[in-house]
């Protein structure tokens, strides 16, 4: 089976996010006054061939831990969708 995978990498809770704070500080100047807790991350998308969804998910978790994130400062949120 082929799966569509989206990995969203964000800084872990508690790790300062200077990009997020800079955006947040700029919001009131544009009139956006109700927005807070801005966090900036990146999304990584790819297709994956695997036997089933649990195998796919395990492989994505592995590549996140070993390559796509630095676990010292980053978390990954993983979405696996059957194509």
């Amino acid at each position: 089976m082929t799966f569509d995978v989206v990995v969203e990498v964000t800084l872990r809770a508690g790790v300062a996010d200077p990009q997020g704070s800079t955006i947040e500080r700029s919001l009131p100047a544009l009139g956006f006054t109700g927005m807070r807790d801005v966090r900036v991350g990146k999304s990584i998308r790819f297709s994956l061939d695997a036997a089933d969804e649990s195998v796919a998910r395990a492989e994505v978790e592995d590549v996140c831990r070993r390559f796509l994130t630095n676990p010292v400062i980053e978390d990954a949120s993983i979405t696996v969708i059957g194509a």
Binding site: V15, T22, F67, N70, V72
Partner: protein, 232 residues
């Protein structure tokens, strides 16, 4: 006379010539180590220099750590060989797991390219063994992702084990506990964000890096006259 100091080159490294120049000026031989080679040969020490290895894609050091040469560097480090990572080299060594913690974007999102004053916090490292604890050095910094961070548990271990090698006097980037450089538990691997190789000649505005480079050369086995006879 010691063995040559190996200087790793990744696509995007840009401080390797400065490192070679500064060590050569002190009378040592250097050899470049290409990222795709899987052995480092007979070297007395390894320097992972600054730059933007593999474009800093994904994260600084994230791709460089998988280069064939890094396996040989890790083995050299595991055998007790002195390894120093400067700036991007520091980022590569943390990604490779040879040093604790991580470097993230500077507080304020500023690329800092300026002189910095750092304090030598321990002389028990290959980069500082000829220095004096507490001495202040004027060494330039040049980075966007130099904000050293680690968990509170790791920070406690760093302090307990005397692994903080340098601290900023005036923290330029938000690093936890003003940390500018750390060493491994085994002490032979050192990483720092400031560039000592750029502070090794009066024409560069500071010679405060000379003592660090001399310490490294001594650790690499360069104990003969050329090192001490050359002027700073």
């Amino acid at each position: 006379m010691g063995s040559p100091v190996g200087i790793v080159r990744f696509p995007g490294s840009n401080c390797e010539f400065d490192v070679a120049e500064s060590l050569g000026f002190l009378g040592a031989e250097t050899v470049y180590l290409w990222h795709q080679d899987d052995e480092i040969g007979d070297v007395g020490a390894v320097v992972v220099p600054g730059g933007f290895a593999h474009g800093d894609y994904l994260r600084p050091g994230a791709i460089a750590r998988f280069s064939p040469i890094m396996g040989a560097v890790s083995a050299f480090a595991a055998a007790g060989g002195p390894v120093v990572g400067i700036c991007n080299g520091f980022q590569v060594l943390t990604e490779a797991g040879l040093l604790p913690g991580a470097l993230q974007k500077n507080v304020g999102l500023k690329f800092r390219c300026e002189s910095s004053v750092i304090r030598v916090e321990t002389t028990n490292s290959p980069l500082t063994e000829q220095m004096t604890t507490g001495s202040l050095l004027n060494i330039p910094i040049n980075h966007f992702e130099g904000n050293y961070t680690c968990s509170p548990e790791v920070l406690a271990e760093l302090l307990t084990n005397d692994q903080v090698v340098f601290r900023y006097v005036d923290n330029p980037n938000g690093s936890v506990d003003d940390i500018a450089g750390v060493c491994s538990v085994g002490r032979n691997v050192v990483g720092l964000m400031p560039h000592p190789e750029r502070a090794c000649h009066p024409l560069l505005g500071s010679t405060d890096g000379v003592g660090l480079m001399r310490s490294l050369l001594a650790a690499a086995g360069w104990t003969d006259d050329p090192v001490s006879a050359r002027p700073g």
